[in-house]
Symmetry: C2
Subunit: 200 residues, 2 copies
């Protein structure tokens, strides 16, 4: 009972790494078994099916994202500081060494957008929640009068998401060293448009 749980986690760990660079579809039971020094069938028994394995990996990815981005940002002060914290942790998450292939959720979003099934459903759920979380943080910033009252929280979340995606693109595909600075500049510009107009 105990041992099984441990190896299962070890497998999931390396499955996460593999899927991070190769994609969820690139996860192969055979290679995964080889990496973990065990037999295909022995590994397979832990998940019941390849789809089960993919779902578990996706679940692990969202749990980590929660722990590294979502939760720590909640410790920041309400309003603009929290919006900033969300953005900063998000960028750090993308660059984190435990994500050798960039953000798995972003990769999965492209990979699964035309692949109906439980994996896609789970991912859509997570992404909707995340977008809602971003919008909520913006709404709070409006309440705190850090942002103007006419700021559209959902639109702000949309724009924020865009900056992060563009960063992901520039950083991971183009390997552009200026990506980070651009992301920060874009973020500051976005924040600026949301700030109250100077009283005159």
């Amino acid at each position: 009972m105990r041992k099984g749980e441990a190896t299962r986690e070890r497998i999931l760990e390396s499955a996460f790494e593999l899927a991070s660079t190769e994609g969820l579809a690139g996860l192969s039971i055979g290679r995964l078994a080889e990496r973990n020094g065990m037999s295909k069938s022995g590994l397979f028994a832990h998940f019941g099916s390849k789809e089960g394995l993919q779902l578990d990996v996706l679940e692990l990815a969202t749990a980590r994202f929660r722990d590294r981005v979502f939760t720590p940002a909640l410790r920041a002060d309400r309003g603009e500081p929290r919006v900033r914290a969300l953005f900063n942790h998000w960028l750090e998450w993308i660059d984190d060494q435990s994500n050798p292939g960039g953000c798995m959720l972003t990769a999965a979003a492209i990979e699964l957008d035309d692949q109906p099934g439980p994996a896609r459903d789970m991912l859509v759920d997570v992404q909707r929640q995340w977008a809602e979380m971003l919008a909520r943080a913006v709404r709070i910033a409006i309440e705190e009068r850090h942002f103007r009252a006419d700021v559209d929280p959902a639109l702000f979340a949309f724009q924020l998401y865009g900056i992060v995606l563009s960063y992901h693109h520039a950083r991971r595909l183009l390997r552009d060293p200026r990506a980070r600075r651009r992301a920060r500049d874009a973020f500051e510009a976005l924040i600026q448009t949301a700030h109250p107009r100077p009283t005159r």
Copy 2:
């Protein structure tokens, strides 16, 4: 000589469709042959290798992108109109029915970001050119005094790219019907930040 060229193009056409939804790695010679009512070996002979096929598909994708987005935008007036045309054609391209799985280049950008090889190299080239093209259009808008002189063309391109990526995400994964409007709003907001400040 003539016949071969024709079937080759027919194959590439359906390969493009297949790769659009399944990804470049999801391209399978067997299924592709089945779809085209011909044998695996007969089809295979046209490309020499799977990698060759992928490269040809990628090439087709960039050619189409050029024809549908790049080139028509050049017919718009220099300056802000051209920037708007680039954006509009880009959005239309994403929604185009000939792209059943969304923009192939975007999907490939995620799929190949950790897969070194000629396909990745070609894609990086195209994407760099595209970013440069966007920046150039912005630079022209500055020259035309449509945009302020202190606008950073590369940053503007980065932001524009972000809006489109966010649109892709909201539209294709989340199936959010408000995606289009959000993209337009974000674009107008971006344009606004680039406009000359009102004289007072």
